[in-house]
Subunit: 263 residues, 4 copies
């Protein structure tokens, strides 16, 4: 399977995982930078992530125009993805989500910061982008053009995630696997922080702990387990790459292996 | 399919969506104004929305009497619908819901106001109707006659939604699709606002943002995606109109389309 | 079907409804007074309510001894039921539940009171029984004998429900249908009240509204709809009595009925 | 079935229960001490608990090295289990969970203490282990070696449970059945305590009530009911031991038993 087919397959799996884990619902989307052309990205045509299939994937220039004049209905807010890819050469995958549990942090002054071991990846704290700052008081809050997408990417800066006031968040990853992990962990971290704040002073991750997490290899073996688990729960287990399936076989290991004391 | 059959089919789909999205449960109901006669409305006989079928739909005069002496058991609270249709010629569809997350805003002085991009449609803030104000201290809180239905519609005034103290809410729409969208978004907005209030000062939608939302075409293409998603989740995908199915086909688009870099 | 078979069938349906609506889980139980003998009650042998079948139903004297030396494993806490039936000749059915959402009201001074139209039936406010008051500081909190059951019934007094500190609640009904309804509504009311308390002063049901609810016929037609809905959701639709099925047929009504404007 | 096969079977059932009850998800694990060799324990190779099967079970020395050079991928954090077994000869089973509802108590000064009858088993209050105290400010918070496992066990001391700051908890049991019960009850107790704290002064279990619970036989008949219920819900009912199935048969009891007043 070549790099493009592999990216498309992983993108479909990512769609299904994010839908099944309730990070995406009718709205929201996930994309991946084209593996052969840094100035393009892959994303589904406009349909619900839980329904996305191989044949739905479209290719876009960073400015949001479809490559080759593809006439299918695109996501209205694809400029979130293009704006970020344009500014951030290190980013290989982007998620835009409306996940509810994060939203209170987008409409209050309380910063969303990591308190769980798995959320160190979101960085020391998450900036909030308010579309009204530059685009005035009468938008729909949706990111519908490149100026808005670029403004959002500027607020994201070097970070992993940016909240969007009254709307949701945009998350980035060095791989699809990483952006999926960040996106699934964000709502959990938000829920726990929200509850803890009602109980006293909250001990979040230290700067050292955040840095340690940011330094971990995003595609190490410990992270495969979550990808496999989520893909299986989403009914995509069969779509996992042969390499991963080989690892699975090894894990299933020796049914014949004699444990001490057995028969 | 003529306009009446189309309205009946959409009403059945709306019932199933609202049940599946947990806006309606054993109680609560949805209606649509008769497409050919402004002084009548269509609503199921008294049964749970998740079970409603084509043959359950009844027709009523605005005062709640069944057309043609239909003897089936009607919803006790149909006067909510008739009272609203009577006062509001612009309203084409009505939902009455007991959705739990909205109820705390019906029994405290805290106003329910929109904080999410998708809830601008509920208006700047939602009035609360207390049946005791006019009907005294010993009702069951249920709207069981036209005087109560008219009193509720008066409190609704020109708005999209009205809360009913200790009971639920009534929502209106310029179409079934719109009233379903309003009704599904209300509980989400309520949950997020409730949580945010515990975290600091809440930045809700501005007046300009609310007006912008109210000005959007309620049946534009972006809104079809949610209707299709919810209908599919509710097992009614097959009931969508041919026009919508054609759009779906187009979205599925070119499986043969060559993405750059592919074979 | 004679009165006893009818009671057994309804008791099985009640078990399944309460399990499916998450009022009962591994623990908790529901009983009904014997229709022919006021000094006996019917309750399942000790198994999870979602598994209870016809053949599991046992018969007990009010003091908790099984009639006829039935050797099957009884519920440890059946004395809750016997203690209440003994004191309250008006009570025909009892539920003991550990439903989580009610528990915070059993361990704080905040009274649980009705705030929703459907919870007026619980009375103006719900007493809390603390087993330690009479039985000391080293019990398991479980009601394991008649003295404890009687003490609980005394705290219940003339009410519909009593909370059990750190444990759950016991609810009563003039019929199985009523006690199921009370038990399903309790957690909803608790959740809404808990949230509302964080938002300002709470307007609960007035004394007149509570009295009005208590005066309603517990087995009126509006209440059948919930019983049918819950039974259907619990997979027991086929077990509903013929009379109820006849009503269902009538509701399904005229598929041939011509709505005005149709073909 | 010999003791080892029995332990393996129960360990698989425990994995499935804990996954189904949402105590474990992609991460987290459960182990049991080897029935024939106190210096070894049994635990699955590294895979999600809901997928664990008989052939996945591996055997480890207490220091975390696999017996017999088994090359399958082990859980990274198995040192939690070894560290505890090493220190605590009374412990026969260990669970490590990330269950979300407990986490706010791991990052605030508020102690997690038992407020429900079923949580007395967690002890008077639960200590919190912060990996940074001894291992500094730049760990991943995961327990990845024996020094960390031993430090955690030291904080656990003689208790049943220890929270792990920003991470989860480790629970112990005198049997698999007990550690499963403790682990399932912990999140419920945490949720109820969290809510109650917002409502006023909380009455938790007294010292006498906690001691009473700790004195109960962990494998008494009342506890079998929960094991059977959870195993059945997890689809493992068929894996229950013959002895338990015999008890089930007896509970199903006399379908022919004549209740008084029946035909």
């Amino acid at each position: 399977m070549n790099a493009l087919d592999s990216a498309i397959r992983d993108l479909v799996v990512a769609n299904r995982i994010l839908a099944n884990e309730r990070v995406l619902d009718a709205y929201g989307h996930v994309s991946v930078r084209h593996p052969r052309n840094r100035d393009r990205y892959l994303i589904s045509c406009s349909r619900s992530p839980e329904l996305v299939e191989d044949g739905d994937i479209m290719e876009f220039h960073l400015d949001g125009t479809p490559v080759g004049g593809d006439k299918r209905n695109p996501y209205l807010e694809r400029f979130i993805h293009g704006g970020i890819y344009e500014r951030r050469p290190d980013v290989q995958a982007v998620v835009h989500s409306h996940a509810e549990d994060v939203l209170p942090f987008s409409i209050t002054p309380t910063p969303l910061r990591p308190v769980l071991h798995s959320s160190g990846i979101i960085g020391a704290s998450v900036p909030v982008w308010d579309i009204a700052d530059r685009f005035g008081d009468a938008t729909t809050l949706l990111v519908v053009n490149m100026p808005q997408g670029r403004d959002l990417a500027e607020r994201l800066s070097d970070g992993r995630v940016v909240l969007m006031r009254g709307h949701g968040f945009a998350a980035t990853g060095r791989s699809l696997s990483e952006v999926v992990r960040v996106s699934v962990n964000m709502p959990t971290n938000a829920r726990v922080l929200h509850k803890a704040m009602q109980m006293g002073e909250v001990r979040g991750l230290s700067a050292g702990e955040v840095d340690r997490r940011l330094a971990m290899n995003p595609d190490g073996p410990e992270f495969y387990r979550a990808w496999e688990y989520w893909a299986t729960r989403a009914g995509c287990g069969h779509m996992l790459a042969p390499r991963e399936k080989a690892a699975k076989k090894m894990k299933k290991g020796g049914k014949n292996r004699k444990l001490s004391g057995r028969r």
